[in-house]
């Protein structure tokens, strides 16, 4: 028979540090790099590969020359400084031509316009990215597309103002009809009214006002756009437009109405089944045949529309995944409280579905932004192929190979990495379910 001693604890123990070897860098390395023979071997192989790569790249990067006027001069300086066998990067090209990577062939004396548009863009997207900023800033965000268009393309200020009036018309029609006809029908009629306004009234009215009150900036043509200016214009517009469109497509795909569902599914599957390049060629060539010959349908606008449609189809599928992940109880609770379909979608379903879909949506955005380089194939000056070809055509920089790609690549990386980090931050911030 075992004895036991009665025991009552009178003092509670304080928290203590774990013993040495169980904390800090040594523990980390042991657990992560050398936890077994297999892991140790892989760690060593990895180390060798990294060292080998570094031994080739680091000298090349370190030997880089910033001050030179041509590739030949770069090479001479490298040979003179580091010996005949040394290789090195010729960053002088970047120093001399960076402005073309950024602005393309935009007139140099007007660089302030895209620069200002970019700064204003940061102001405009700030309240979207950070909910803690005052909501009144959204007014500027709503106006920004028009300001931006005017700054970049110039021309009369009345053109964007009259376009804006078209949106006003849409809002008016919607407001007047929504209580009687419901959201989809009144939105559709509003759209018809706005389209009629833009097609029929737009040009004569803005010209008329301009003749009375000529306010305008020097016009810049679309074919002068290039580099990251072009990428960001296409990328940001398509991102901003594809999200709402993707949401509508995802809802359409789940709709009870046969026609809406069929159209949504057909659209999504068609777009996803066709390469983006095909759509871009359609934008540049085919539309020209179908549209009446006198219409002057801007090539950048056409590209933006097709990139938007393309991204929207993918985003719709990502959001559909988010919708499917919501328990049925959420729809039922919203219904049981008397919320109508659009209220339930806006207040209950979408906030949760979008939150679940953030990683997928941001992946689509990143893909979209990188895909903007494909506009090179329809003759636009994208930063990767278009501008690099221009730079290489210069006799001074003929034969330069890695540097332009590295330069453009680094900028793409920074932007995409920024988007990715932001999405991770947003996910953490919106995490309220405490699972």
């Amino acid at each position: 028979m075992t004895e036991f001693t009665p025991f009552v604890r009178t003092d509670m123990l304080e928290q203590r540090e774990p013993p040495a070897g169980q904390r800090g860098i040594i523990l980390w390395a042991r657990e992560n790099l050398f936890s077994g023979p297999m892991n140790t071997a892989l760690s060593l192989i990895g180390l060798v590969v990294i060292l080998w790569l570094a031994s080739h790249m680091v000298p090349w990067l370190l030997h880089g020359v910033w001050n030179a006027n041509s590739l030949t001069e770069c090479r001479e300086i490298i040979t003179a400084t580091w010996g005949p066998d040394a290789t090195g990067a010729c960053w002088a090209m970047v120093r001399e031509r960076w402005h073309q990577y950024v602005f393309g062939f935009y007139p140099m004396d007007l660089y302030w316009r895209p620069t200002l548009a970019f700064v204003l863009m940061l102001v405009a997207i700030a309240p979207i990215l950070y909910q803690s900023l005052p909501r009144q800033m959204m007014w500027f965000t709503a106006l920004y597309p028009f300001v931006c268009y005017w700054l970049l393309w110039g021309g009369t200020i009345w053109a964007p103002v009259v376009v804006l009036m078209g949106f006003g018309l849409f809002a008016l029609v919607f407001r007047l009809l929504v209580s009687g006809l419901g959201v989809p029908v009144s939105a559709g009629l509003g759209l018809v009214a706005a389209a009629a306004w833009w097609l029929l009234v737009q040009t004569p009215l803005s010209a008329a006002i301009h003749s009375v009150l000529p306010v305008g900036l020097r016009s810049v043509d679309s074919d002068q756009f290039g580099g990251f200016l072009l990428s960001i214009v296409i990328g940001v517009t398509a991102i901003a437009a594809s999200l709402p469109m993707g949401i509508l497509l995802a809802l359409g795909r789940k709709s009870d109405m046969m026609l809406v569902r069929t159209l949504s599914v057909g659209f999504i599957e068609f777009i996803r089944g066709v390469p983006l390049i095909t759509l871009l060629f359609t934008a540049s060539l085919l539309l020209q045949y179908f549209l009446p010959p006198e219409t002057n349908f801007d090539i950048i606008l056409r590209v933006i529309i097709l990139v938007t449609l393309f991204a929207a189809a993918y985003i719709a599928e990502v959001i559909r995944g988010g919708l499917a992940a919501l328990p049925r109880g959420q729809y039922e609770a919203a219904d049981a409280l008397g919320l109508d379909y659009w209220q339930a979608q806006r207040l209950i379903i979408m906030p949760q579905a979008l939150k679940i879909s953030i990683p997928g949506i941001v992946s689509s955005f990143i893909g979209l932004f990188k895909d903007t380089t494909l506009v090179a194939f329809v003759g636009l000056q994208d930063p990767l192929k278009g501008i690099t070809a221009v730079v290489r055509a210069d006799i001074n920089w003929k034969g330069i190979y890695w540097e332009p790609y590295i330069f453009a690549g680094v900028i793409f990386f920074l932007i995409c990495f920024g988007m990715s980090r932001y999405s991770m931050w947003l996910e953490r911030k919106l995490k309220t379910d405490h699972r």
Binding site: G329, A333, A336, L337, G338, L339, Q352, L430, D433
Partner: protein
């Protein structure tokens, strides 16, 4: 729950009809879930619905706020007949509160926002007023101090009480409960039942699917037993438990009370 402790003075049943169901039938595809259901609920009644799993209890009360559509017969709630007319459906839903087995709180909104959402958007009540009402009902269910937390930070019992408060914020005339305590641990069941008893004492019309027979005996004025999509027996609780008439009821009661 001692029966004496409950104040029945206000639990008067009026002769005004709250819900009228006539010859209602429902199918899921080929499966006949509800068969010729007839039922009249008067204002102030507390009805407990019980029956074996799959007998159609949930389906029946979900038809009352049109979460499920019935294919034949008539359902009239507070004078409004449920048809395909969306206006009528929304009207009925805003008059009828519902509490679910799995709470179905909105996880992305705080407790307070959960409670004010429908009053603000459906009833168009100003935000401040809606928040005052919400705090009133949250105090009633004894969790005013959790108002700014998210549902995921609350215990099951607390979440269910929030769900009740959320429904009450719409000032409903009728409350439906679908097994409100069966997803809860035993020690939390009591806090939810206490809230429901308090509600009954205030004269709320209640339809409650539950297997809490203590609650039925203490609060209900009528117990309905369902099997295979039909109402098999209904009676006032004392008679229902002590003197069941049909064989199915006797078997069911022996199964849930027997051990």
């Amino acid at each position: 729950m001692a029966e004496q402790a409950i104040d029945r003075s206000k639990m008067m049943v009026s002769d005004e009809v709250a819900i009228q169901i006539n010859n209602m039938n429902k199918w899921y595809g080929q499966f006949h879930v509800l068969r010729d259901v007839n039922m009249t609920v008067y204002k102030g009644e507390r009805i407990v619905i019980c029956g074996p799993s799959g007998s159609g209890k949930s389906t029946l009360i979900r038809c009352i706020n049109r979460l499920e559509e019935h294919q034949a017969g008539q359902i009239v709630v507070d004078g409004t007949e449920l048809t395909n007319d969306l206006k009528n459906i929304d009207k009925v839903r805003s008059e009828v509160g519902m509490v679910f087995q799995h709470f179905n709180l909105f996880p992305h909104l705080t407790i307070l926002e959960n409670c004010t959402l429908a009053p603000i958007w459906v009833r168009k009540i100003p935000k401040r007023e809606a928040e005052e009402t919400a705090m009133h009902f949250l105090s009633k269910v004894k969790i005013p101090d959790q108002a700014h937390k998210y549902p995921g930070q609350l215990s099951g019992g607390q979440q269910q009480r929030v769900a009740i408060a959320r429904s009450l914020c719409m000032k409903p005339r009728i409350m439906l409960f679908d097994e409100p305590t069966s997803a809860l641990d035993p020690e939390m069941i009591k806090e939810v039942l206490d809230t429901m008893i308090e509600l009954a004492e205030e004269g709320m019309t209640m339809l409650c699917v539950t297997h809490e027979m203590g609650f039925a005996q203490a609060v209900a004025n009528r117990v309905i037993f369902m099997d295979k999509g039909q109402i098999v027996e209904q009676n006032e609780p004392r008679e229902f438990f002590n003197n069941p008439q049909s064989e199915r009821t006797k078997l069911f009661l022996s199964q849930i009370l027997g051990h």
